[in-house]
């Protein structure tokens, strides 16, 4: 009897920090934001319950255009991160030797040791008009005057891919690592070409890792703020920037809260569609990778 009491107590103690974290930092703030989002401002300091904040979003094309744009660019970043990350992950998990694997993983982690802000400024140093690349091109005589490489969509996408690619590589490495090499060899042995083995064996096997990586990367990208703002400038039109403007510039907390929920609903919908299309379940992908 005492043994089971003890076990129950230790279970509760172990669970408590997690429960507190979920409750205090996730659930409560969201309830607060939900209440805020559903308050309509009808006059100074006069509020009513209603969906006005959400309707405002629907009536103003610039808002939903920004949201769509954020979504498409995030999908593009996710696809690029997958395309670049998959070969890297495959190399780390299947090609590199046991000792090289750890070192390569560490190298992938190094960018994370530097803060987001510093990394973005690093890109700025490289890409601005008076930056390293522009000066180098001028010195080589390839361009006549200084060129501005910042503040365009390509730069924002490159910067975002750079920031999030690690979160694609980690789940991919862990799923590919669990794959028996004999399965790849069997794929060749039974007559498959390299492409067939990749398409019919490696990718289907790695699907949980691919989906998990894509979810993480998409969520991180769609919710990122620093990189699009610093590399894209005022024309980056990232939805998080719109939310920021509502809260800070316009001091419209109700609108900001509503937009926050819209972003959450939008990204969740995209992830849901992605899961349906790939035939995976959220539990399956997270558990396997």
């Amino acid at each position: 009897m005492r043994q089971s009491d003890f076990r129950r107590l230790s279970l509760i103690l172990l669970f408590a920090p997690f429960a507190l974290w979920i409750l205090l930092l996730i659930v409560l703030p969201h309830i607060g934001m939900g209440v805020l989002a559903l308050r309509e401002k009808v006059g100074p300091r006069v509020y009513e319950f209603g969906f006005g904040n959400f309707l405002e979003f629907a009536h103003e094309p610039i808002y939903w255009n920004t949201l769509i744009r954020t979504g498409t660019m995030s999908l593009l970043v996710t696809a690029l991160a997958l395309l670049i990350g998959f070969p890297i992950a495959y190399y780390i998990a299947k090609v590199a030797g046991r000792r090289a694997r750890g070192a390569l993983f560490l190298i992938c982690l190094i960018p994370l040791w530097v803060s987001d802000l510093i990394r973005a400024f690093g890109w700025i140093l490289l890409l601005r008009e008076t930056g390293v690349i522009s000066s180098a091109l001028q010195a080589m005589g390839l361009v006549d005057g200084p060129i501005e490489l910042l503040y365009n969509d390509a730069t924002v996408i490159i910067g975002l891919v750079y920031t999030v690619i690690l979160f694609m590589i980690v789940p991919l490495v862990s799923t590919l690592d669990g794959m028996d090499n004999a399965m790849i060899e069997a794929g060749y042995n039974l007559g498959g070409t390299g492409f067939t083995v990749l398409r019919r064996i490696i990718v289907p096997y790695a699907m949980p890792g691919i989906v998990a990586g894509c979810i993480i990367v998409f969520m991180l990208t769609a919710g990122s703020y620093l990189t699009p703002i610093l590399l894209g400038g005022k024309y980056s039109s990232w939805f998080t920037e719109t939310i920021y403007q509502q809260f800070i510039t316009r001091y419209n907390w109700e609108g900001g809260a509503a937009f926050g929920f819209l972003l959450l609903a939008f990204t969740s919908a995209v992830v849901w569609i992605g899961l349906k299309l790939s035939g995976q379940t959220l539990a399956g992908t997270v558990a396997k990778s």
Binding site: A182, E185, L190, G192
Partner: protein, 397 residues
Amino acid sequence: MGDAAPGPTAGGVSSFPAIRGCAQSMAVSPDYDLECEAVSKSFGPVRAVDDVSFEIPSGSFFSILGPSGCGKTTLMRMIAGFEDPSSGDIRIKGRSVVAVPPNRRNVKMVFQHLALFPMMNVYENIAYGLRCNGVAKAEIRRKVMDVLERIALPDVAERQIHQLSGGQKQRIAIARCMVLDPDVLLLDEPLGALDLKLREAMKIELKLLQHQFNTTFVYITHDQSEALVMSDRVAVMNHGRFEQIGTPQELYHRPASAFVAGFVGDANRWSGRVAEVANPHARVETAAGLSALCVPADGQALRAGDAVEVFVRPEFIRAERLAGVEQSAGNSLAGTVDSLLFNGANSRVLVRCDNAALIEADVTLTGGPDDLRPGEAVRLSWAPEQAKCFAAEAARP
């Protein structure tokens, strides 16, 4: 199975007449599905496979038997094309395949852990190879169903891999290869993961499947009973070399080396020195003080004073109660029963001799009053012909 590569067989044979000529008769079709000639493989300073040559006639069951780390898996991977030999030649149906990538060789492999694709069902697993070869859809369905029929699992096509039992997985893995009509099927210890009962059943089943498909099977194992039971011919491999190739009976009764004698089957093993040579026998004094008449193994010329190892199989040693047994002409030794190792028909008795050596002998235990009991005095006897001695190998560990 012969229809897989009819052209190359004829062409290949005629292009390599000199190599094969001498040993075999100059028959038109020396039907070898697989030939290895002086195949070696080095990993840095380690020679994993060292100058291995053999040929396997069509439709036979060939085993490569050796302890783990003897290079048998490397050899198999070279045949399948996953490793390139450092030197030597591998020919399938008479054609050299050294330069052929693994997916173009008509050699299929059953992997140690089977490597069935978990994301596909049984049907897709078997159809995979056919699809790679661009076979038409209707033809694929016909062939898959046909092979499932032949392995006696006609109803599992739509099952997922994890829904199959161990023995079923085994058969699917074989079917997945056989549906492609391979020239040679390689099996890399596929029974290793099964439990004992199933393993025994699968041994017989594998042999039957081999007969049914009439394809050359090359079976890699460290389990001598698997090799002996199933094979037409067995190669015993040690330290990257073939010690002996022969039928199971030859290996068992006429081992060519001390390693084969020790590795294939059980044996009492004593090291000693030759005291005198009197053809055909040799008298050996063992380190433990035992004196025994032996025959030198085939091709061994022994002189007095040579260090030798003597092997006597337990089933050739008779253990009888001391009372009423007169000294026979062969080897004979008195001792006391130390313990009985009961194992049904394969029961053994451990006899401690006067000079403290323990000797194993097979006995029949019926459960009746005539059975030997620990502590009883017994006489062990065996014919000199059943005691094989080999020159002790100093260099090899």
